[in-house]
């Protein structure tokens, strides 16, 4: 049945046009109840024994999604009109509802009421869109009621008084969310409820709660129409707000209209915006640009809290280079950076946050409603006010909380409790918090994904061997070198001396794309996860376990499929030719780095494998030397390693990760393979290759390194990577650790390398600064990185073995994949670091330690030290917190020194100090590592 839908719409140019769309009504839309005798029940999703079928209205879905996700809520009919409205208003809620509807364990059914012949309602004149949709919901509820007459009760859940009244008038049973949840007699569900945001109630609330705050804290947001016109004529600027990870009172808005970042100082100017929100910003007059800053700083000092943390791995992790003490150079540059204030929020980025409740006195009467403040683990998020009926339970728990609203009258946003993760301080709880914070998917693989796996036990079949694209390399002496206990072995090597004095060197990488085909659920899942995540005691795989640990893993003495890069090299490690082929290999040994090193060092061993190792090592040394000659940086990071108790999984010992020659040998060949493959795929697919680049750091980014170096009389040349590498090499101090420390400081100034799609940038930008390679990509770890899977497909296509999947023709899609990979990669790193931090905390809990540390940064009331042995960094306070350091201590910015006024003691950067490390609990359940001078 054809029905025309017509509506008027304002076009982008501002004109108003009438739009007419076809709208077909159907007979073949079924009710989804298995008990139904009329409908086709093959697609039925509701449970056969359902006594009550729930229908939610749009606002309930939008606001109570946390409740709806709770397994207590079942047998829900989601109307398509509701879905459509939710989609228009909040995409993330829409995605969550969609996930519920597609989850086979939940009984959610989508009923396309808008296309059903009996439930479609035509617009009535004078009726608003909302009223029409409410009517459509009621009509659908009524249809269900009469359709399922007798077999199930239909309950419409709405919080809209008018809608409820009309529904009851029309003979539909309707209830508010609250009364429905009460009827379930599950008090824990009540906490998930979002309190109705009826205006007058709210005002009273605020008055009752904190009378002193009953004033307007934030200015009102501008209405959307004003923002749009403001953006149009250039008064306002639109952009995504990013809050400084290390200073929640400072945020940046990257604005296209200005072409620069606008800085926003202080919560008042941020005007209730969260990190990630799309906001409209108004620039402050230029004379206020600096003044605002000092106010914000004063404000910030009371709450800012420096924690002990791991050494940042790169510039992205480190705090921005703000000089809080206003050195001469910085004061000049500040007015050039525009600062502004938020006037409106175009799109919210609210989601749920992990954290805990601020400690407070237990309420007198148990069971009543208590108001509590929630503190997020993520420091960028302000405290959130929540209501709870289970305060006693929650005080010592890690919980997640969702934000509902932020009233201009209230200092903090209000939200509601979502779920409890576990007890604070418990290792599993904290690990889970780390995973949630970094948006890491730890859910087990779905059955659709597992269905894509080959049957176990899996062997190389005769078909694989007969396949003309696959070369049989089983006769080669292939071996792998990995960290001890490595189960997902994705690379193996071989090195054969040729009669002409050259070497044939092969890098064999697990042929993951033979099992992970483009477009399958398995591929989608892997592309979403992006990378495996390695925590101290746990690994979260990108691919299901049978693939990572068995089928793809190039273990010793079994035949495995591989993708090989084979070079012919001279004894001087010059590559004469390179070829690429899919292959079958049989590894003869899976060595650990230690074993490989021991074999090379043991001069008595002369077996062929050891000879191969030695040959490879000498080739690798030449390649490495050449790479360094080209200007590759040898950067250092303070990676630590834990020894974990096998029973309790508590860390027993902690130490720096030792790098051996064998590590460097494997690394060298992997780099070479990656570079070779990058060249090959770029030659064939100049527009859609996935490469990895490392941007050249700007002088501004290297500023902290230069300042430190200058203070200790070291002159670093940063004009090119080669110059920097050379000056880093020559920076040898009086003690062995000095050079490494400088390298760590240098590493911290660099940004991270990123994946990108070659069509998006011009060739000079492809440069990988750190490796001094014009082209680079990731090819060698397809088991744990999705980027490598993509590169494998590109390489196979460039050899003409397989067709290029269709994704590669879609430029924007490729870019979004690369962005997701960067995001996942970064999150995985953050999670690993957080996991190490967590274990450090557990380690020192029982072992207060005195150790040697190096000063890396000077602050007004103390300094930051780096503890080489444990790879951690943290503040040492010279004056007690709270007091400003101004009186007693004097900071010499030029010399990077802090000096006592009477000149008796002074500390300068890079100086060695002895410190005491101990876990203290200033507040209950908030353990932190404290460093103090011995």
């Amino acid at each position: 049945m054809l029905q025309n839908k017509s509506f008027v719409k304002r076009t982008r140019g501002g004109k108003i046009t009438k739009v007419v769309r076809e709208h077909y009504l159907r007979h073949d839309i079924y009710c989804g109840a298995p008990v139904c005798k009329v409908c086709d029940t093959s697609g039925a999703r509701l449970s056969p024994t359902a006594s009550t079928i729930l229908i939610f209205d749009t606002n309930v879905v939008l606001h109570q999604i946390d409740l709806i996700e709770n397994p207590a809520i079942e047998d829900v009919v989601v109307l398509s009109i509701v879905l459509e409205e939710v989609k228009n208003r909040n995409l993330s809620v829409y995605n969550r509802v969609r996930a519920l509807c597609s989850n086979s364990l939940r009984k959610f059914f989508v009923f396309s009421n808008e296309h059903h012949k009996d439930t479609y309602v035509t617009d009535m004149s004078g009726e608003s869109k909302n009223d029409r949709n409410d009517r459509a919901i009621r009509v659908a509820a009524q249809w269900y009621q009469s359709h399922l007459a007798g077999s199930a009760k239909v309950l419409l859940i709405t919080n809209d008084k008018e809608n409820k009244r009309r529904a009851i008038e029309e003979g539909i049973s309707a209830e508010t969310v609250e009364s429905y949840v009460r009827s379930l007699s599950r008090p824990d569900l009540l906490d998930l409820l979002v309190q109705p945001a009826s205006e007058d109630v709210k005002m009273e609330d605020v008055e009752d709660l904190r009378p002193s705050k009953r004033k307007v804290v934030y200015s009102e947001h501008k209405p959307m129409s004003e923002i749009t016109s403001g953006l149009h004529c250039g008064i306002y600027h639109q952009g995504k707000l990013r809050v400084n990870r290390y200073n929640p009172f400072e945020a940046y808005v990257g604005s296209e209209s200005i072409g620069d970042e606008i800085i926003i100082y202080g919560r008042t100017n941020m005007n209730r915006a969260f990190d990630g929100d799309i906001v409209a910003v108004e620039l402050l007059p230029q004379d206020q640009w600096h003044e605002e800053k000092s106010i914000a700083l004063a404000d910030e000092e009371d709450e800012q809290e420096e924690d002990v943390h791991l050494v940042p791995g790169s510039a992205d992790d480190a705090p921005r280079t703000t000089a809080p003490h206003g050195s001469a150079g910085v004061t000049e540059s500040v007015p050039n950076r525009p600062s502004g204030r938020v006037v409106g929020i175009i799109k919210r980025n609210w989601h749920s946050y992990c954290g805990s409740l601020e400690p407070m006195a237990k309420p007198a009467g148990g069971g009543g409603i208590a108001h509590a403040l929630f503190v997020s683990k993520d420091r960028r998020i302000p405290k959130i006010r929540i209501q709870t009926r289970q305060l006693e339970n929650l005080l010592d728990k890690r919980i997640t909380v969702a934000v509902d609203s932020w009233d201009p009258l209230s200092r903090y946003p209000s939200g509601h409790y979502v779920r409890t993760i576990g007890v604070i301080g418990d290792k599993d709880t904290e690990t889970e918090v780390v995973l949630i914070e970094n948006d890491i998917n730890t859910r087990p693989f779905s059955s659709q994904v597992l269905a894509c796996l080959p049957l176990l036990p899996w062997f190389v079949s005769s078909e694989d061997l007969a396949n003309p694209i696959r070369q049989d390399l089983r006769q080669l002496r292939v071996f792998s070198v990995d960290p001890p206990g490595c189960k997902d072995i994705d690379d193996a090597l071989h090195c054969t001396a040729l009669p002409n004095g050259n070497y044939e060197v092969g890098v064999h990488i697990a042929d993951v794309t033979n099992f992970v085909h483009s477009g399958t659920p398995l591929d989608d899942e892997a592309s979403q996860r992006g990378t495996s995540v390695y925590l101290v005691e746990r690994r979260i795989d990108m691919l299901p376990k049978p693939l990572t640990e068995d089928i793809c893993s190039l273990r010793a003495d079994v035949e495995r499929l591989a993708f090989s890069v084979i070079w012919e090299m001279t004894a001087e490690a010059e590559i004469i030719s390179a070829r690429y082929t899919k292959s079958v290999i049989k590894s003869c040994a899976a060595l650990s780095y230690i074993e490989a090193q021991a074999r090379m060092d043991d001069s008595r061993l002369m077996d062929p494998l050891t000879t191969d190792l030695r040959n490879m090592n000498s080739l690798a040394k030449i390649m490495r030397a050449r790479r360094i000659e080209r200007g590759a940086l040898t950067l250092a990071s303070a990676e630590v390693k834990f020894e974990i108790d096998t029973e309790t999984h508590d860390p027993l010992d902690i130490g720096m990760y030792q790098i051996r020659e064998a590590n460097q040998m494997v690394e060298e060949f992997m780099l070479a393979a990656n570079v070779s493959v990058a060249e090959k795929i770029l030659k064939h697919f100049p527009l859609c290759s996935l490469l990895r680049r490392h941007p050249t750091p700007t002088r501004e980014m290297l500023e902290p390194l230069l300042r430190t170096a200058a203070a200790i009389g070291l002159n670093l040349d940063v004009s090119s990577s080669k110059a920097l590498a050379d000056s880093l090499d020559s920076a040898v101090g009086d003690d062995p650790y000095f050079n490494k420390l400088i390298r760590i400081l240098a590493t911290r100034c660099m940004t991270q390398a990123v994946y990108f799609c070659s069509g998006d940038l011009s060739p000079p930008e492809y440069l990988h600064y750190g490796l001094a390679a014009l082209l680079y990509t990731h090819f060698t770890s397809p088991i744990r990185r999705y980027a490598d899977v993509i590169v494998h497909r590109l390489l196979a296509a460039s050899l003409g073995i397989y067709k290029l999947p269709t994704v590669f023709q879609d430029g924007p899609r490729l870019t979004s994949i690369a962005d997701n990979l960067n995001y996942r990669h970064r999150n995985a790193q953050m999670a690993s670091r957080a996991s190490v931090e967590l274990h450090t905390l557990i380690f020192f809990k029982k072992r207060p330690t005195d150790t040697e540390a190096r000063i890396v940064r000077i602050r007004s009331n103390g300094f930051f030290v780096f503890v080489p042995k444990y790879g951690i960094e943290g503040p040492v306070y010279l004056t007690p917190r709270g007091e400003k350091g101004g009186g007693e201590w004097y900071v010499d910015e030029q010399q990077q020194k802090i000096r006592k006024m009477d000149g008796s003691i002074s500390y300068s950067v890079l100086q060695t100090v002895f410190i005491h490390m101990e876990i203290v609990e200033p507040q209950p359940n908030r353990p932190k590592l404290q460093l103090s001078l011995v």
């Binding site: 004109k15 739009v19 076809e22 597609s102 396309s112 067709k803 269709t806």
Partner: protein, 312 residues
């Protein structure tokens, strides 16, 4: 954007393999030798055919075949804003050409040397909002070709077969039949296909995007199904019209031509369809095996006092 919901419904409520509502009517312009209106959803097109007639411009006359001309226009009121459009802009020239070539492929031009056939197609209503929008114009191609086929049949121009057209696209990894305006503007691949359904020959194939070959084949197969469905419908319209005329003449139920036609229609496997207009205003589809003159004679002789416009 989600063009096919997980429930399997498209934005307008169709399933992926379903066409929009189609409607055809012939004989809408009395003055023309043949005319038709064809609707596909919200797209509405009128076509009028004049000819075969003398070639006014003698220099264009061809001695071995007929000259086919086509003019495509969009009515000023066919879209939301009524801007005056220049005649003969690039887009309408292109669509005119497409329609001309498609129709020329099926008209038996060699039977009508030194004549001219004019096909006028005008879009009365275009789906979509903006005027001069490429998609609004391109989306009308199928409807134009179907309207032209109907009008040519109405005019009794001998044709090898009906030409029917339909589009298919590929969005959200799903092949979709007969794209509407919103789907067309999504920027995915869009295949416009014109076929001669009985001969299984393609006369028009346009696609302005890239698709992998295996997917393209699926999409094309879907478009072929669509074309065949349109052909079935057009045939129905023609039959219905013939019946109407029979009623008007009072010869319903006894026309030997009609029954002979039916027999042959079901029996013939490989055949040529010729649509003829008899001077009494009959429109009839005669179907016969290729090269079989016997049957033609049989049909012709079975209708008393009838003179076919074209003799073989």
């Amino acid at each position: 954007m989600e063009y096919v919901s997980p429930e399997g419904l498209r934005l307008d409520g169709r399933r992926p393999m379903e066409m929009r509502q189609i409607r055809g009517e012939i004989g809408v312009v009395d003055k023309a030798d043949g005319s038709a209106v064809f609707e596909m959803g919200n797209t509405k097109v009128i076509a009028a055919v004049y000819g075969p007639r003398e070639v006014p411009n003698r220099s264009q006359q061809m001695n071995d075949r007929a000259l086919v001309r086509c003019e495509y226009t969009m009515a000023n009121f066919s879209t939301g804003d009524r801007m005056r459009k220049p005649k003969g802009d690039r887009r309408s020239t292109e669509i005119s050409l497409v329609i001309r070539q498609t129709m020329e492929a099926c008209i038996m031009t060699h039977l009508m040397p030194r004549t001219q056939i004019d096909i006028f197609v005008q879009v009365l209503q275009a789906d979509g909002g903006k005027s001069r929008c490429l998609i609004a114009a391109v989306g009308t191609r199928s409807a134009c070709i179907n309207a032209a086929t109907l009008a040519l049949s109405d005019a009794g121009i001998p044709m090898r077969d009906l030409v029917t057209s339909c589009s298919a696209g590929y969005l959200n990894s799903t092949p979709l039949l007969d794209l509407n305006y919103v789907e067309d503007s999504a920027g995915g691949a869009d295949v416009t296909l014109g076929i001669m359904p009985k001969l299984d020959k393609v006369t028009l194939l346009q696609m302005d995007a890239k698709l992998p070959l295996d997917i393209f084949e699926n999409v094309m197969q879907l478009a072929i199904e669509g074309c065949k469905a349109v052909a079935t419908y057009i045939r129905q319209v023609l039959l219905e019209n013939t019946k109407q005329l029979e009623y008007r003449r009072g010869t319903h139920g006894q026309s030997p031509a009609y029954s002979a036609f039916k027999v042959l229609f079901s029996a013939a496997r490989r055949f040529i369809a010729v649509l003829m207009k008899f001077d009494g205003g009959y429109i009839m589809e005669t179907v016969f095996d290729e090269g079989s003159r016997l049957k033609i004679k049989h049909i012709q002789s079975s209708i008393p006092n009838q003179r076919a416009v074209f003799r073989f």
